[in-house]
């Protein structure tokens, strides 16, 4: 409060201290802000440049939304007024920039924008420096409006780079003319593609060449500041060259320049050169040029003393890798891995695994590489990596025998990593028979080898090994008794771990009771996995993304849901990757989901086998209707589950959302689900709000968005995981990112499972993501409309529906609905004013589909006739269905 009083003082000292106090100590949300704003307003109006400067600095330092509300209109005026002092202009420009970053919606665009662009021509270089920052940020968001800045920036830059080092007086920094301004101008130019005007383009190329030439000149000073400033401009110029990616000549020159830096004695320059080259490697023009530096980069990996530089070298090797040098790069990375810093090992492991897979000409090389990887850095080999190697081995017949032989040999080592045991166990369990012919790897030897590792392994690995053993029973009947003995031993049958115990008991029974036929069917070889994006790549992407580095727990959660496509435990039959517990059979998840129950009698026998040992499935709850209405049931432990495929009957609510984006989607006694969504072109985002209406916590709260197989290729949905507990009375939010790839019919289903009290709740509702959400309205004249209408006269393009009105026939409501549907409502197109006509374009990633529609009401009959014409039959059909439900 005292500080606020100081602000209104006329004394400079008091004012200054007041401002300092506020800038340092008051954070954006403080209550005092309103009082402070008043004092600032007075100072801004004071016309005293020092006071104005103080006030502007204060606004920029605090930069809160309240500040923006109060001053965002005022500052542009100060900025472009003719009589404002240069120093005030500078402060005003940056102050406005800060407000624009905090609250872009509050800064009004207007006449001032064009005048701001002309500040690039200002005589005062300080003003240009400050204005360039502002223009860059504004241009990023409104590229069209600031297009003229390109030619101005180019001419300014050209004047700077060609000036003699003394021309710019105090703006020359250690013989480099205006380095800060040059960097900012080059950055501004990176907001735009290469200039179209050949004259401007020529001038820019000249500038860039001059900058590259200067790098070759002998330094004008020995000071590090001189070279730093010069190279700062150079690196920014190279960024621009890479951004434009259109001048092969410049790209190659840039690459050669960076090549020189790779061996520079300054660590900083080596670091930056490696970093910059990474982006150059992705340009087709310079990829080959980058590759010529491979030896230097490998050398950097071996000799650099700073881990951050080595990390850059790894990145660059990864970026420059292609089929021609993959073997060399992978070998070098593996070498480096032995001595690499712990902090970057996991990343290197992922990179090696990806490169090995991507550029594998020969899959034996791939298998060797991954096994090496496990040998060298087993602890850093995440599940994805060894899941992936198994996927590949299973999908490729030609490598299975080799893989079995190699893992068998690798397992001979006295101490081997647990991950190797897992891979070994899995592969021998599947393909051990391929090497059993060799007496050195006979079934018994294989079994003994694996079993010798058994006791040193963790529970999940032991569980996996038990599955391998039962697979051996099928593959090698001759060692059945040996295996049964092992399963029967007390350490298995009476193991303290439930999972191990259950497996031992079940497998033992299975091997004694079932006939060889049944065994052969149950323990069949795994079917090939469907091809999909490498899970490792997905992980690396995620690892590189912001924010994921700290939250390991979250990564893990995402991992498991990623692996299986849903949060449910995967069964052997539907899992596209081995499930986290590496369950070969899926027995522990659900005993009845076997791929093909041999026959009905055998089937029941199978159930018998399990039912007397493991009552895994709890009885189903009697009725599904009262699941939600029975808090009394809460105490009793009942699993109530609706059949997964019945979608909750909420069709009516679903149709409500066809013409609107926000509202309540579902509500019962326990839970309310609200939606808010936004769509633009083929993209959208939906916010789902889950409200707990009870006073009790929901536990294990897992909402899953499910796309049917038909829907999956057409609609990309990405969901963020939500917190598994929802407190009583609380609300959690989930974001779904939506991308429409092609037109689609069905709606995705939102499945929600949670535990309320003692009951397990499971419900599904259709998520109202419908094709019409990707509509962009199109205005057109009557003539245009009918011309297009005639063009779409093919009977397949038209769909018509005549239906009875479900709601009162009100013209205004109908209009609102058509607009809500997404198409433009065209007035005065139809000769009959009672009819409604609309037009729009459906945006999907692959195509755009023009749609025309006409709705003819018949008041007497209380009927409508709806006609849709689009270029695609399925689209006409779907839109007609959706819209017919609305009236």
């Amino acid at each position: 409060m005292e500080a606020v009083n100081l602000l209104s003082s006329n004394r400079y000292t008091e004012k200054q201290i007041g401002y300092l106090f506020i800038s340092v100590l008051v954070n954006s949300n403080s209550e005092l802000i309103r009082l402070i704003n008043n004092a600032i307003k007075n100072d801004l109006a004071s016309r005293n440049p020092t006071f104005m400067g103080l006030a502007l600095h204060c606004i920029a330092n605090v930069g809160s939304r309240e500040m923006a509300e109060a001053f965002a209109g005022e500052i542009p005026k100060i900025l472009v007024a003719g009589d404002t002092m240069d120093s005030v202009k500078q402060s005003a420009a940056l102050c406005l920039l800060r407000l624009y970053r905090t609250s872009p919606d509050l800064v009004p665009m207007g006449d001032w924008t064009s005048r701001v662009v002309h500040l690039l021509n200002d005589q005062h270089l300080g003003v240009v420096t400050a204005a360039t920052s502002l223009i860059t940020t504004l241009a990023q968001k409104n590229p069209e409006e600031f297009k003229t800045s390109v030619s101005l920036a180019v001419s300014r830059l050209s004047r700077i780079v060609t000036s003699a080092s003394t021309d710019l007086q105090d703006y020359t920094y250690y013989f480099v003319p205006a380095p800060w301004l040059s960097v900012k101008l080059l950055r501004l130019l990176q907001c735009y593609p290469p200039p179209e005007d050949p004259a401007v383009r020529g001038r820019l190329t000249e500038c860039l060449e001059t900058i590259l030439n200067k790098a070759q000149e002998p330094p004008k000073s020995k000071k590090v500041q001189h070279s730093n400033a010069k190279n700062a401009v150079l690196f920014e110029a190279i960024s621009l060259i890479i951004h434009h990616d259109s001048e092969p000549n410049l790209l190659v020159r840039a690459c050669n320049q960076l090549g020189q830096f790779l061996q520079h004695r300054e660590t900083n320059l080596r670091y930056l050169a490696l970093e910059s080259m990474c982006t150059l490697a992705s340009s087709e023009f310079s990829h080959e040029a980058v590759k010529t530096h491979i030896e230097t980069v490998i050398n950097a990996l071996k000799t650099e003393r700073d881990v951050s530089v080595r990390q850059r070298a790894v990145d660059l090797l990864y970026a420059m890798c292609d089929r021609s040098n993959a073997q060399q790069i992978v070998a070098e990375m593996l070498n480096y891995l032995e001595t690499a810093d712990y902090s970057i090992r996991e990343e290197i492991v992922l990179k090696v695994a990806i490169l090995a897979e991507k550029y594998a000409v020969d899959y034996t090389w791939y298998v060797d590489t991954i096994l090496n990887l496990i040998r060298i850095a087993g602890d850093y080999v995440s599940e994805e990596v060894w899941y992936r190697v198994i996927q590949i081995v299973i999908n490729r017949d030609d490598v299975q025998g080799y893989a079995a032989k190699t893992v068998f040999e690798a397992l001979q080592a006295p101490a081997c990593h647990e991950n190797l045991v897992k891979v070994g166990g899995y592969i021998l369990g599947e393909f051990g028979n391929l090497i059993a012919g060799d007496p050195r790897s006979s079934p018994l030897i294989q079994f003994n080898l694996l079993h010798s590792k058994f006791h040193l392994c963790s529970v999940p690995t032991r569980a996996l090994l038990l599955s391998t053993y039962i697979k051996f029973v099928n593959l090698f009947p001759e060692i059945k008794t040996t295996i049964q003995d092992v399963l029967r031993s007390d350490s298995q049958l009476k193991n303290a771990d439930v999972e191990l115990q259950q497996r031992a008991v079940e497998y033992l029974r299975l091997s004694t009771i079932a006939s060889t036929d049944i065994l052969a069917t149950v323990l069949e070889e795994m079917p090939p996995f469907p091809e999909r994006e490498s899970s490792i790549l997905a992980k690396l992407k995620k690892k590189k993304g912001p924010g994921t580095v700290t939250d390991l727990e979250e990564i893990k959660r995402e991992r498991s849901s990623d692996m299986n496509g849903s949060a449910e435990p995967a069964c052997a039959t539907d899992g596209s990757t081995p499930s986290p517990s590496a369950d070969l059979l899926g027995l522990s998840a659900a005993p009845v989901t076997n791929p093909a129950p041999p026959s009905s009698t055998n089937g029941s026998l199978l159930v018998d086998v399990f039912s007397d040992t493991a009552p895994a499935v709890a009885p189903l709850a009697p009725g599904s209707d009262d699941n939600f209405a029975s808090p009394d049931l809460a105490s009793s432990e009942v699993v109530s589950e609706e059949p997964a495929d019945t979608v909750h009957d909420a069709d009516e609510l679903f149709h409500k959302f066809v013409c609107k984006n926000n509202g309540v989607l579902f509500e019962n006694q326990l839970l309310q689900i609200g939606l808010k969504s936004e769509f633009r072109q083929n993209l959208g985002r939906m916010f789902i709000f889950y409200g707990n209406k009870t006073s009790t916590q929901f536990l294990n709260f897992t909402p899953t968005v499910i796309c049917s197989d038909d829907l999956q290729p057409s609609l990309n949905l990405q969901t963020k995981p939500v917190d598994p507990t929802v407190d009583g009375g609380a609300q959690v939010q989930q974001v779904v990112n939506i991308e429409c790839v092609s037109d689609f019919m069905e709606a995705p289903v939102l499945n929600i499972q949670f535990r309320y009290g003692g009951t397990f709740q499971n419900l599904s509702v259709k998520l109202p993501i419908t094709l019409n959400k990707f509509f962009q309205p199109t205005e057109m004249s009557s003539q245009d409309f009918f011309q297009r209408w005639k063009q779409l006269s093919n009977p397949k393009q038209e769909v018509q529906n005549i239906f009875k009105a479900k709601h009162p026939m009100d013209a205004e409501i109908t209009k609102a609905k058509i607009i809500g549907f997404g198409s433009a409502l065209l007035e005065e197109v139809d000769p009959n004013p009672a009819n409604f006509v609309g037009a729009g374009i459906i945006h999907t990633k692959t195509t755009q589909i023009g749609c025309l529609l006409r709705l003819e009401p018949n008041l007497q009959a209380q009927m409508y006739r709806l006609t849709l014409r689009t270029s695609k039959e399925a689209v006409s059909q779907r839109l007609c269905e959706l819209l017919s439900e609305q009236f």
């Binding site: 004394r11 400079y12 000292t13 201290i17 800038s23 954070n27 954006s28 020092t50 400067g53 600095h57 920029a60 930069g63 120093s87 940056l94 102050c95 920039l97 800060r98 970053r101 872009p104 919606d105 270089l125 300080g126 420096t129 400050a130 920052s133 940020t137 990023q140 968001k141 007086q169 105090d170 703006y171 205006a178 800060w180 301004l181 950055r187 400033a229 700062a232 690196f235 920014e236 660590t267 900083n268 080596r270 670091y271 003393r305 700073d306 951050s308 912001p546 924010g547 580095v549 808090p631 926000n662 509202g663 309540v664 006694q669 808010k676 936004e678 985002r685 409200g691 009583g728 609300q731």
Partner: protein, 191 residues
């Protein structure tokens, strides 16, 4: 069981919220704002001497960041490079005598020019205080802040000319001194 539901939908606040969401949704992914995030000055003993934040953060976050960064930077050896990746930011730092100057910039930012921002700031302090030392900054921290504000505003370089920056500070000082004389008379009255 009756629980009052909060009003989630269609309130006025909600409309505002939607607008904000829309802005976030459609502008945020396209945006790569480049700017300096913050600047810290700390001693070899890890004592913070000056801090300037250009992005809104809570005090708790600021403390956490400072603690982590001071540790990371102090642990580095002299010959190592001046840049390091930290969280999703890049840290540019340089040591002058007993003080570390440390700036956080974003991924696409220019590291070398940031290094020279630090150097120019040190030059400004040096010129103003006449061979600056850590004590100058401790006892005249307000001057250090004023100089920084003249040079950098909102995380962007405002004025690179040494002369212009110092001229602005000297003018302010003059104003201060002439008023201090008035103060003399005034305080006598009070006494």
């Amino acid at each position: 069981m009756s629980v009052l539901l909060p009003i989630w939908f269609f309130s006025e606040r909600d409309l505002f919220e939607t607008q904000r969401l829309r802005l976030m949704l459609f502008f945020f992914p396209l945006l790569s704002i480049q700017q300096m995030q913050f600047m810290l000055l700390f001693s070899r003993q890890g004592k913070l001497r000056l801090q300037k934040w250009y992005v809104p953060l809570s005090d708790k976050e600021k403390k956490k960041i400072t603690r982590e960064l001071v540790q990371t930077v102090l642990a580095r050896k002299p010959k190592m490079c001046s840049f390091l990746e930290w969280r999703d930011l890049k840290i540019v730092y340089k040591r002058y005598a007993s003080l570390y100057f440390c700036c956080a910039i974003e991924d696409q930012d220019n590291e070398l020019i940031t290094l020279e921002i630090i150097h120019r700031y040190v030059e400004l302090l040096d010129k103003y205080f006449g061979s600056v030392c850590e004590l100058d900054i401790i006892f005249n921290f307000e001057k250090a802040y004023f100089i920084l504000d003249e040079f950098l505003l909102g995380g962007e370089v405002q004025e690179t000319s040494k002369k212009n920056v110092l001229k602005a500070i000297e003018q302010a000082d003059l104003l201060q001194e002439s008023q201090n004389e008035d103060w003399g008379g005034l305080s006598e009255d009070i006494l």
